[in-house]
């Protein structure tokens, strides 16, 4: 499949505009507040990085949350020791994430398939337990590592008062509220830092997908044995992909800490590792935009759906007659609030069953339907479903 440079440029430009306009686009959906916008961007980065490993090489890592967690701890330690500026924290998080993934990848990549997945899962769970209790002096255990007033912060020179993470004086929690078409839109400094980095990461991933290196990784996915028989050692390629995606995860972890200076052990739990797998598959593994979409969808559900309680539902269904309203509310309340996992599970099942290529496949099918140029349903343009393994 050839893709011209122009198309890639358009894709990048459109992606950038959409991301930068995020606060405006998402405000009508109740998702335009800084914390969630930041999460969208950060988990987008995490999923993009995961997709470099899973989407390209087909190696399914179940332990990526460990790198995210390690990145967070690294960043918070930079805040505690060096400075509240986010730059050293983020850089150090990426380095630590990279080193840690080199260590784990070097061991885990000796196996492939399910054995690789189990190894990464074991390492991640081990890291989680270490962070939770054994390494408490470094991680502050279950309570989580926070910045405090009496941290040394040698570069900040003992500035008094509440420490805020900042970019050369611009506080990450700085928010300007603007009224657009009667809608309150919050432009947050931290979100734009995340957004800029997300766009950068998207560009890197775009270049990686198009590069000979990316081609090599795709070859690993389609048939690793054949590559070995032709005399190619695939290990360095897979290890490089693993480390790159570990660095993305470290970056995401660092950003999480930069937006909200706290690192907790549960960031490394296996459920968090599973979440990024869900994000990637939901959006479309092996596609460029898919992981970002999947990350957005999951975070939206986690934060917005989980907060809907019966009172909100009553308002929503208030146009119905009262008896019907109560019935509808009691049924629909199963799927919101604490039942948001149920809704997400159903959506996941539907997507995996009917759209194996994820949301991106859905979008392109929709696109084909709209532009219907007489191509048959089984035409060559139909995307091959990305296999999970």
């Amino acid at each position: 499949m050839t893709s011209s440079k122009t198309n890639d440029r358009i894709l990048l430009a459109v992606f950038s505009v959409l991301v930068l306009a995020g606060p405006i686009i998402l405000a009508p959906f109740g998702a335009g507040y800084p914390d969630l916008l930041q999460k969208f961007a950060i988990y987008g980065i995490f999923a993009i990085g995961f997709n470099i490993l899973f989407g390209l090489t087909g190696y399914l890592s179940f332990g990526h949350a460990a790198f995210l967690g390690v990145g967070s701890y690294a960043a918070v330690w930079m805040f505690k020791l060096l400075s509240m500026n986010v730059i050293p924290a983020i850089v150090f998080a990426v380095i630590v994430g990279g080193l840690f993934s080199l260590l784990i990848g070097y061991i885990s990549l000796r196996r492939s398939g399910i054995y690789f997945s189990i190894l990464t899962l074991a390492f991640a769970q081990m890291s989680y337990n270490l962070a939770y209790s054994v390494l408490t002096p470094i991680t502050n255990g279950e309570t989580g590592l926070q910045v405090t007033l009496d941290d040394p912060r040698i570069l900040d020179g003992g500035a008094a008062g509440q420490p805020f993470s900042n970019l050369f004086g611009l506080n990450m929690i700085e928010t300007t509220e603007v009224s657009i078409l009667g809608m309150a839109v919050q432009f947050n400094a931290g979100f734009y830092v995340c957004a800029a980095i997300l766009i950068g990461c998207f560009y890197i991933s775009l270049r990686l997908f198009r590069s000979p290196f990316g081609m090599m990784l795709k070859a690993v996915k389609s048939n690793q044995n054949r590559m070995s028989y032709t005399g190619l050692n695939t290990r360095p390629y897979t290890l490089a992909a693993f480390v790159i995606s570990g660095m993305f995860a470290g970056l995401a972890g660092g950003l999480l800490a930069a937006m909200d200076p706290l690192a907790g052990a549960e960031r490394m739990q296996w459920t968090a590792s599973g979440e990024v797998v869900l994000m990637t598959i939901l959006g479309g593994a092996g596609t460029l935009l898919g992981p970002v979409l999947g990350a957005g969808l999951i975070k939206y559900f986690e934060n917005i759906f989980s907060a809907i309680n019966e009172g909100v539902l009553m308002d929503f269904w208030s146009f119905l007659p009262e008896t019907l309203q109560h019935a509808v509310v009691s049924v629909s309340s199963l799927f919101v609030g604490e039942g948001w996992h149920l809704t997400l599970g159903l959506i996941f099942m539907v997507i995996v069953t009917f759209l194996p290529g994820g949301l991106i496949e859905g979008a392109s099918r929709l696109g084909r339907l709209v532009t219907n140029r007489g191509k048959g349903e089984n035409g060559a343009a139909r995307p091959a479903p990305a296999p999970a393994e």
Binding site: V14, K39, Q162, K218
Partner: protein
């Protein structure tokens, strides 16, 4: 293979962007608030952040019930509950500062990250002026730090670790619940009178912050009685099977087992210890005993028969006969049909204390509320005369020592109060070594 249908999707997106572009900024406005989430309308919004999923979901559900009841009472609904018995009469049931009380809820999932995310949503999107709740010290410490940064008040729910008002204390955070040190101080005299001063204790401790502070506190209190600590063993959180930790207890020469566990861990470890025949065994010529320093009625329900005769401490129990407790149990029971847990009690009281402080201060400014709560003395809330100490924002009040009932009359009647330890006995200096480190800092009004 990755596949791209750029031109079509590009087309779609370009139109989306064009749409977004049309929605160009109309009016620019800087927030002109004096402090974070100043309520400008006719209502004030409180954020209830409780675990709705996970290991403490039962406690979270009970906390939420208590909060809803508190909001009802604050707005003049129901029978008014503890408002009638509360020593401060500032609240009249007509809202707070003339504003109707409304609330939003969030799920902490008993995870620091998720708790902070939902607290942030309530502050940034829903405009909550105060965050309260939580059923774990880790979450309480994390959310307390967040509220300090964002400039809103945090009224801690169920959190028992010394750290919450010790090394992790914050000016914007307040805790009504008691702590591990108080448990130790309250239990020690009862243990001495029942088990003597020549005992050998064996600790099994949940391996995280709360477990450690409790182990430290209880060990210090019992060693002061003359007890020996034979061994302190850490068990991983959520271990379903404790048999490998219980077997060594039998051969250690210890004659008291102290279980520093909470929630499901405590239910499992206590049940298994009883099944192992530890209770009723003879060691060193004495009866072997088990102690659970932090008790709750919900846990006693889970452990069933095993709790009989086991000592522990608790913040509050529904069988108390003072006016405040009776009023609260009555209105809670009328609304929900069963008695409230200690988690529900502390959360209800915290909501009322916040509202009362705002009413007395005549403002929702966090700094005014901090000033109104610091050093505040009150009564009629079920714990007798209580002081909110200014130095660390910890409440000082009587602590209950309870024992598992031998002959429960109902499924809720599982614990009996054997002693009420007066507040003076559990009071400590603000710079006590178990609470040292960390600073309260300045109150932060945000914005």
């Amino acid at each position: 293979m990755a596949n791209f249908t750029i031109s079509r999707r590009g087309l779609l997106k370009t139109s989306a962007v064009a749409g977004a572009g049309l929605a160009a900024p109309m009016v620019w406005r800087r927030p002109a608030y004096a402090y974070t989430n100043e309520p400008t309308g006719s209502s004030v919004i409180l954020g209830f952040n409780v675990p709705q999923t996970g290991a403490y979901a039962d406690e979270g559900a009970d906390e939420l019930r208590a909060y809803e009841l508190a909001v009802e009472h604050l707005n003049g609904g129901g029978d008014g509950g503890m408002l009638a018995t509360f020593s401060s009469k500032a609240l009249s049931g007509a809202g707070v500062n003339g504003k109707k009380v409304e609330f939003v809820t969030g799920d902490t999932q008993t995870k620091s990250d998720a708790a902070r995310a939902s607290a942030k949503r309530m502050i940034e999107r829903d405009g909550a002026s105060m965050i309260t709740g939580g059923s774990s010290s880790g979450v309480a410490v994390a959310v307390q730090g967040l509220c300090q940064e964002m400039g809103v008040i945090f009224m801690a729910g169920l959190t028992h670790s010394n750290d919450t008002t010790g090394k992790d204390k914050k000016a914007n955070g307040f805790r009504h619940f008691f702590n591990a040190y108080m448990s130790g101080a309250a239990l020690a005299p009862v243990l001495k009178s029942n088990y003597g001063s020549d005992r050998k204790a064996y600790h099994l401790t949940a391996d995280y912050t709360w477990g450690w502070t409790q182990e430290e506190s209880i060990a210090a209190a019992t060693e002061a009685l003359g007890w020996q600590t034979v061994e302190k063993v850490r068990t991983p959180l959520g271990a379903g099977d404790f048999s490998q930790y219980l077997t060594p207890v039998l051969n250690s020469g210890a004659d008291v087992l102290i279980l520093n566990h909470y929630g499901r861990d405590m239910v499992n470890s206590l049940t298994q210890a009883v099944q192992f025949g530890l209770k009723g065994k003879q060691v060193n010529g004495k009866n072997f005993e088990i102690v659970v320093p932090l008790y709750s009625r919900l846990m006693a329900q889970g452990a069933g028969e095993a709790v009989k005769g086991i000592y522990g401490s608790t913040n509050w129990h529904w069988s108390l006969q003072d006016e405040g407790s009776k009023a609260f149990v009555k209105s809670f029971g009328q609304k929900y049909g069963f008695p409230p847990s200690q988690a529900a009690h502390t959360c209800y009281v915290q909501a009322l204390l916040y509202a009362d402080a705002a009413q007395r201060a005549g403002s929702f400014n966090p700094c005014d509320i901090v000033a109104a709560l610091e050093g505040f003395e009150f009564d009629g809330m079920g714990n007798g005369p209580t002081l909110y100490r200014a130095e660390d924002h910890q409440c000082f009040k009587d602590v209950l020592v309870v024992r598992g009932k031998e002959n429960p009359t109902s499924q809720f009647d599982l614990l009996e109060v054997v002693d009420v330890t007066p507040a003076e006995q559990v009071t400590y200096a603000p710079d006590h070594p178990m609470f040292a480190g960390g600073e309260l800092g300045q109150c932060n009004p945000g914005a």
